[in-house]
Amino acid sequence: MNQPQPTLVADIAACRNDFPALNQDVNGHSLVYLDSAASAQQPLAVIEAVARYQNDDHANVHRGVHTLSHRATELYEGARDKLRKFVNAASRAEIVLTSGTTESINLVAQSYCRPTLRSGDQILITWLEHHSNIVPWQLVCEQTGAELIVAPINDRGEIELDELYALMTGPVKLLSLSHVSNALGTVNPLREIIDRAKKAGITVLIDGAQGVPHMTVDVQALDCDFYAFSGHKMFGPTGTGVLWGREALLEEMPPYKGGGDMILEVSFDNTVFNDLPYKFEAGTPNISGTIGLGAAVDYLQSVGMDNISEHEKALHEYLVDKLAGVNGIRLIGTARNQASVQSFMLNDIHPHDLGTIVDHQGIAIRTGHHCAMPVMQRFGLSGTARASLGLYNNTDDVDRLILALEKARQIFA
């Protein structure tokens, strides 16, 4: 390596040791995990918070007067408070706990859109979106007769803003947009887009699955109406997630599911729904997972979201530089504002083969369509290889990837 090492945030180097999964050999090589955009590893603090809860404090929440039930409720609701602060929601009533981004988006589709959309109305998305931010709208459009319209992206993988704004002039009821593209890493200019949408009277949902792991999110500063994210992408457990929504909107929406906890009173004549956020939380929630998610918030805040952004930005630049040195590399996704997620192709090697070859050297990258088939279609590909960098990655990881890609290139020479 004759390039200078980038200046990474010093303390972050040590964070790697907080993640037990990274300390293992895979196929005879020490693991290099470059698949955090699919699902991040968990720090020991999260794993232990979950185990500790199960060992000492577990009971069902909200419904009991006994000590364990009280402890479980405090821990669970305490996680909600942490999440509220994490995204700077105005009140805890606005933090609806879900099983993940996908469920959060479906909730809005079914409870906000389905009862109000009419044939002729439009829902606006972009070509960048993850299937979880496409299919729920296709389903609700089919159910209501509304139309799904899609703003195009350019060759760098950026939304064509002019075309997006032109589409906003139609009978658009909702704009649903990713914060960061999981396939291309594009960071969308949310403030500007939301501003335009608000002026056009359009409700805005942000799919923040790839936003929260990488940068500070302030839902009030963004001024969107809904913000959806998943626990497992921000170093928390699977099966957890959040829908943040403006209280006034959530207030008007009918419940999404029926069951225990979301009611104040049930009789066969008259059922009274509970207050926010409980109206949207039917049944026993993912108590242990949510408590783990609270611990993940603590962890992220102890590292500092700004430190994370800075570290990842430097490392992403390093990755792009190094990839540029590999013969036959084509970067897919070259947005001017890009998070530490990088798709690429190597000659005409199918990403699947690339994935297997680098895995054989202990390196985990994602290959395929990344649940974003329209993005793939846009670039005329069936899939890409994707390296996504988390706070625990370092330049060694990148160097190992580059060596492994060289080997793949030679096999298919």
Partner: protein, 158 residues
């Protein structure tokens, strides 16, 4: 109270005054001429009570009553409430709401209520602080008071 209670905390919760008000709640009646009313619901247990206030032209609470069912703590608290707020101004009643709920939830000394109002009996509820899951029982009627004064129809304690 029976002497089986070797334990101070439990004794502190179920004081004689609480048990007395729970057994024989005062002003346990519907006010047909109520000017303000609200329901309090505790979703935890499904308990409900309805509070009635008669507020006159001078903004004075001239009568208060309640109906419903609940645990000893919530019944006693509602009973004590009706005694406390009768013949005081609406503003003072609201100040009592603030004092009582803050004292029970935050443990703060709660000096918001005017000194002229005697809240000493309500100290009997203080034992509930040791039982966080029961604080909602003690504050239920007070939230209904706040809701009634502010013309909301329901208060929940979640």
């Amino acid at each position: 109270m029976n002497m089986v209670l070797e334990n101070d905390e439990l004794q502190d919760l179920y004081r004689e005054l609480i048990l007395d008000h729970a057994r024989k709640p005062r002003n346990f009646r519907r006010l047909d001429d109520a000017t303000h009313t609200a329901e309090g619901i505790n979703p935890l247990c499904g308990d409900k009570l309805r509070l009635y206030l008669l507020i006159d032209a001078n903004d004075t609470v001239v009568d208060a009553g309640f109906e419903g069912s609940g645990c000893a703590i919530s019944m006693a608290s509602a009973s004590l409430l009706t005694e406390t707020v009768t013949n005081i101004s609406v503003a003072d009643a609201e100040a009592c709401f603030n004092t009582v709920t803050q004292r029970l939830t935050l443990g703060s000394s709660g000096d918001q209520a005017p000194h002229k109002i005697d809240l000493s009996k309500l100290r009997a509820l203080d034992g509930v602080r040791q039982y966080p899951s029961r604080v909602k029982c003690a504050t239920l009627a007070w939230h209904a008071l706040h809701a009634a004064i502010n013309s909301q129809s329901t208060a929940t304690t979640e």
